[in-house]
Assembly symmetry: C3
């Protein structure tokens, strides 16, 4: 099993060469193992066209190598230099208003521009040839944060041409496309693929099928762009570990698909920045201002573990205030350590901090680092030194096992409900997070899964809220799985073409629960569909017609089925508030025969193999002895302080249900 | 008198031909009489330039005809097909930012583009020739919802040229225009009509006179576009009934002017969608979420009855949740019936539902219909079956009589205060609605009228809030009318050139009430100008100087005249809150010698000739026996349920004042 | 000493010539001395290219002269006529979206366009030649409200070229620029000045150094544009008094720098409009709706007195409701007089009202004036008649003396924190206003100063919040000054290149207080860093490391130094709420040995030499006898009415500390 380790992001090009070995020694001194470099350095690697300058990079790698550090080398394609942009100005993406997105920051390119793709091939080819065999280069990062700053969708002429060809490849005949999109509506029919336009600047909203295909096309372009990089690297370094650093709450392309070309999925975890940018209300943001949403990071750890098929890491861990959120508070004392162990508990191979030293210049000068701009250690430097010691003492390793509970998260669904929310606050990501949070508050470890058949086996419980258009394969796998299944709302409500299924939602899923959704309504804030004593639907509610085999498990006060059940399959006919979701899951756990934990407020639990981690996201110390039982804590104490972490090794016979389950839980 | 009937909107091109006669039989089965078709079908009528394909339309009409249904045939000009747009890309409207509005939804044309107008001539010519004489074609609809999606104003080069010519025709000499607009201000003077620009993208706001004339020009263009269609249809079908389907709360062109070329004014009534989009506060929207604003539909019924000079109908009646509002809840049980009878009570010839069957594809797939996508009947199908039976039992017919109370609604006024609100929340439409609501809550039936002399006669009470620039003719008619007249605020505050009248507002209206408005102030939310015990002004308040013949009827606590009176003419010097408006109208009714009804909350009353309708927009059953008296209810009961409708035939001698007037009402 | 006088703005071109002498006599009759004319009249001065028409202007000047009025003549360059714009369409500024800003209002030019600058030279040359020697022309106003409507920044091609040359002149070599901007970050390096782009439409935010230099460049362009005008006027009228009318809360160019080419700094004071547009909360806006922020005008009086090096005036004083704020209420009775005396108390040479007569046409028709559109006197006409009499009775004159208290206000700082707020509500202007308000509520008269060495001498207290990048000279002057100095937050946190100082903030200021700011955090609304019993930090907080000579004067509840002190220098480590700022200043006044006044709520005091003015901005009459003591009031009474003004002549021996200081004040 892989030993869990620490890393950092470093920009040698920002500092004098004389500093590099000093930095390397300091890094090693606090227990870091990996150093990511190079991903924004194109203007230093090739200051003029064809004039490669790799010597400095070699020196930097050597300095790190000499200190015993391993390098993650980034391809510099997120920041093409000015000469390159000037050479092919039409490489710029166009925004939805048709304006070119200019040079002067980063990610100033259109994924559909073949000329730029060839430039990328060229620089990566040279880099891979130069460093692909270097023993200190442990991994390669492709580009940086694909899609950041809203860069997946481009409305450029080259994107238009590419989209037409993509449509042609998908539909073969224009008649098929017209049929699939329902273009007879409003006379939107095309006579040839060359008549197709991009779906921006339309008078009113474009056809959802059109928007969905443009989103798919755009996602495919990102995947292809990345694949090209991976292939070139592999051609020179066949054993290279290739990764990319994804972001949080970001769904603009299909991360599962892109990850197929990666060895490890990485993500950049900024708990405070993401919280500030989230749709949570002000009270929630104030409450967790210095520690972040207790479930947001864990969700992404699970998501990217799925993307990486078990292999994942944090590439950029927030070490202090950042510069890019609406407000940028300092983390609570202990929060950096809390976040780090939460990642390791979820099976991260590495947690890497961003960045080593705060740059005194340019856009991110207010983004903190392990070192201050004047090279003095900042708070996180000391945090990391402590963490690395604790990590050694735990001999922490990645352990992977399929979780009993699987929650479906699907990129097409995210696109679908963004394209057609039908109510202004129908946010797919938030809905899935509600489910995730409720599962985690029940003390369960969860796998996030894509809606594919191979993920279904060996589950006790599968949840699939708002799943856009499940495939026949996936539906069949569910049917055969034997697991308890919770569907809805909106699950199966469209075909892949973005049409309503011929015999109404949930379409193909009716084979596992015989209902028809005959009506859906969206609900403005304040509107609540109550279920007596069990909570309410908010935002969204559906009206079901039940087949004979289906019984109403819960009913709303206005007499509609709120939760339908057919044996071990349930369908939830709306967006549940917290109370209702808790009650629904309580019922579901009983049906699934699952035991849960009664966790105190703000306490979270995660198992990594035999190691159990307990986290306190609250502001007050909390007694967790009921969760620890007879075990001996390796780290932490039973009165767990704010931001505290407790770790113990579970006994083989350990069975939480025996001691700690909530009342309604049943033993398997 | 015309018998009141039901209809539906249908898209045969969306369904297999084999389905058409099934649908037709079902329509007939629930008592429908009219079916609107064809209005978005250009790409099927002419899939390639000049290649007309009308056979399917003939078949569809025949299928309907065979079932005994009449057809309303729409011209397809709201959705020019792609080949046509590609042939003349400059037909696109440009938005205020100068961006072309692209193909991919609907209404993608500029009203000033002569090339496109000729294409419309051509297709209509062919359609009218083919179907103008068809006995099943009972009426023609021109285009669809002119102006929808903000399409009246276009900033295209062809619009610029046409605007210059329009100005030339209006002003003859550039000096006259400079004088009328006050262009000496800020050196905005032009030397020729060819120097005139469109009023977009100016550094700060453009001249209000410039904006007003651009709005008038744009309105004229819509009127001319429609007239051209009407003329072609009439040339082939001299007896054709021509109508257009207008929208709600929509004022971007002059609907009175356009209606001069129509036989019947129709409108598309979506009570829940319009409520969600309105400026009402959240509490109001929550309260009426499933039934709509109790007065909004009635207002538009009266407005479009005025437009159609007595002949009007609902072309699209909401049957369930729609897809286009911020939130789209389901109507309450009974709401569709309530809305339908509210329209018939106001004299609608037809109420036509939108649409027959929910399309599973494209932009409106979440818009409900009488049938579900799978052709099963949805709720509204059953509602309609019931309504048609009740309609027969009532033998309901259109009865028209001039109402004693007239409320002026004027498109130029709407434009004027949008151009120059002076306070951010001075919304003309909302102000007129306040007056309308207060009248309706007093149980009065109201005529909405344009500010023209011929509408003045035979009135007991005329109200004209915020009337921009009354003509001399209208002012004279008011002076001679003998009616009680309530003016203000802002009434007469401008000349037609958008200048302040030479001797101050109310300009020409000073002949009927000798006041001068020497100051106007707008008031932020929370600021209130109180009148002791009688309510307050909000949003807007004026300071009056009174002539000798004028007395202050109401005075504000800070000592200014709030309501001025000169015999039977009154001027209200501000925007009244609900309490103040009630008190003002109470006084006005006494002066006018009018009796009113004391209606319970959420109950509304409407007379259609001898038939009195009572509606319950509230959530609870309400005792209406005081409103019914000795009469026998034809429909409904004296304990009127939520969404309930009660109908009885008034006795000839029936005199509401004798039994049901509010205390302060006086007998005529 | 200059006698303080009244003026008005007048547009003879709006009225018939026959009216001019009538108006002039009326102006004289109410005691006006100065009349500003001409500043928007280009289309009348040169209706066609080269066809000058100055006769009407001569006549107008003569009419005013004959009545004994002096003229302030404006250059008409804010409103180039249509023919000029059509001749060189590329003179238009481009907005940040790249759209040309069109003709049709005013300020439609790019400051970088040399062609337009030459046109301005030409018209000014002709005007100066014609009127430069006219005895009635007392002063010249350049252009009008530079920068109004967001016109300083232009993204046009000519601006781009000019910016490249500006960068070249500043940095000499591109390597120096790359270093200064830190362009190695994100490969933003340029190889030549011709590769530099304007910082708009970048994918994410541009480099702050880039944005700062573009702001500096743009400011320089305004200064150069104005200098060119001043030089031409002076070449024909060597003794001309040249002024410009600045605005309120407007920082888009460096007003100190521009004022170096002026003799008098003027500003346009609209207390109600500015309040409505401010960032104050609704409660504050409602409370002061009719009188304005009690400190906003005073702040600007002091600011523009600094700009004018002692010589300043109000060019446009609000006389009634205006037309341009979100809401436009009427001033309270007495407010116009209150505002006028507040300006004179601060040493204004002239208070000039905008405008003489309300125009019935065009954009500002809802902007009130001394006369109504029909030439009848409006409220402010009578106010002015009273004021001019009182002014005579006081024999009011400008008296200037350096104030003991100086508050630094710096344009680069305003730009810096707009470019890099780091927290959404870090508004530099608001922060400085907080300090100003607290000083004024302590009864202190304050000088606003730029951060330059020559302003430091003879001060007892200097405050410099959020000063971006103090120069070495200024730092040294502070070090030598002997004054009590209050710095922070953010003061000295950047170098002039917009980098973090090499050894951390406060950079060069560490020589006067040995601290390092190791961390800064921004705080969302609701987040408070409490100091027990002394208030809290909001919005912003810093973490300090203290040198040996520094002691924590205040400490936050979480244990960080909130106010650091080194002898007479203090550093405030956050944005104080009102309570904290009061407590901090109380301490600072003691250290500085300053006495203060205990003013009742809404009462303000200002000394102009030996004359003390007391103002009541509250809604209720207030007893001010404690502030008056033994003195005899020349104007007003000890029970000062709402909007009241009281004036008395201070005895030479008058010493407020003896009678009226707050408890904690110490005697000097």
């Amino acid at each position: 099993m892989t030993r869990q380790r620490l890393g950092v992001c470093y920009y040698p090009e920002h500092w004098p060469q004389s500093r590099w070995s000093v930095d390397a020694a300091m890094m090693k001194g606090i227990g870091l193992s990996f150093v990511r470099i190079g991903e924004f350095a194109w203007s230093r690697l090739e200051p003029n066209e064809g004039a490669y300058r790799f010597e400095w990079l070699s020196h930097a790698i050597e300095a790190l190598d000499r200190a015993g550090l391993k390098v993650v080398l980034g391809t510099p394609t997120a920041t093409p230099p000015k000469w390159l942009v000037d050479k092919m100005p039409e490489m710029a993406a166009l925004d939805a208003d048709g304006r070119p997105r200019k040079f002067g920051s980063r990610r100033h390119y259109c994924f559909s521009h073949e000329g730029y793709a060839r430039e990328c091939d060229r620089i990566i080819e040279h880099l891979a040839r130069a460093f692909g065999g270097h023993p200190a280069v442990a991994a390669w990062q492709t580009d940086n944060e694909y899609g950041c700053h809203d860069t997946v969708l481009s409305y450029s002429p080259v994107a238009l041409q590419a989209f037409r060809r993509w449509c042609e490849a998908r539909y073969r005949s224009i008649e098929t496309l017209n049929e699939a999109w329902g273009n007879v509506f409003w006379s939107m029919e095309y006579r040839s693929f060359d008549e197709i336009e991009l779906p921006n600047l339309t008078v009113t909203e474009a056809n959802p099928s059109h928007l969905m295909d443009f989103q798919r096309f755009s996602s495919d372009k990102v995947v292809a762009f990345n694949r090209r990089q991976a292939q070139i690297i592999r051609s020179h370094a066949p054993d290279a570990t290739i990764l990319h650093n994804f972001m949080g709450a970001f769904v603009d392309f299909d991360h599962y698909a892109l990850s197929d070309d990666l060895d490890v999925a990485a993500w950049d975890s900024y708990p405070l920045g993401f919280l500030e940018r989230s749709s949570h209300d002000d009270a929630f943001k104030l409450r967790y201002m210095r520690v972040g949403d207790p479930d947001f990071q864990a969700f992404h750890h699970d998501l990217y573990r799925a993307c990486g098929r078990g292999r994942w890491q944090v590439m950029e861990q927030q070490p202090g205030p950042v510069n890019w959120a609406p407000w940028n508070p300092a983390p609570a004392k202990g929060a950096v350590r809390l976040w780090t162990f939460e990642a390791f508990a979820a099976g991260a191979e590495t947690v890497s901090y961003f960045r080593w030293r705060q740059a005194p210049f340019a856009q991110e000068q207010m983004h903190e680092a392990l070192l201050l701009p004047n090279a003095a250690p900042n708070d996180a430097y000391h945090d990391v030194a402590r963490i690395s010691k604790e990590l050694s003492s735990l001999d922490a390793r990645v352990e992977t096992a399929r979780a009993e509970v699987a929650l479906v998260f699907d990129y097409e669904s995210a696109w679908a409900w963004r394209i057609q929310p039908q109510g202004e606050d129908f946010f797919y990501f938030d809905l899935v997070m509600c489910f995730y949070r409720a599962l985690r508050r029940a003390g369960l470890s969860v796998d996030i899964i894509p809606p594919i058949a191979s993920e279904v086996a060996e589950r006790r419980l599968i949840l699939a809220p708002a799943l856009f258009a499940p495939t026949r394969d996936f539906s069949e796998a569910l049917a055969k799985s034997g697991a308890t299944i919770l569907l809805g709302p909106r699950t199966g409500s469209k075909t892949a073409d973005f049409q309503i299924p011929a015999d109404l939602p949930p379409g193909a899923l009716r084979r596992i629960i015989d209902i028809r959704v005959r009506r859906a309504e969206s609900l403005r804030p304040g509107a609540r569909i109550r279920l007596s004593g069990q909570g309410a639907f908010v935002r969204w509610r559906e009206f079901l017609a039940l087949g004979e085999s289906v019984t109403p498990e819960f009913t709303s006060e206005d007499g509609e089925t709120a939760l339908a059940r057919s044996d071990n399959v349930l369908y939830l006919a709306g967006w549940p508030d917290e109370e209702l979701l808790t009650n629904v899951l309580r019922r579901v756990f009983i049906i699934a025969g699952m035991s849960t934990l009664a966790l105190p407020e703000d306490i979270r639990v995660r198992d990594n193999g035999a190691m159990r981690y307990i986290f306190n996201y609250g502001a007050a110390s909390t007694d967790i002895s009921a969760l620890v039982g007879e075990e001996t804590l390796l780290i932490g104490s039973c009165l767990l302080e704010s931001c505290g972490v407790a770790v113990f090794r579970r006994r083989d016979c350990f069975h939480p249900a025996a001691q700690n389950t909530s009342q309604e839980a049943t033993t398997k």
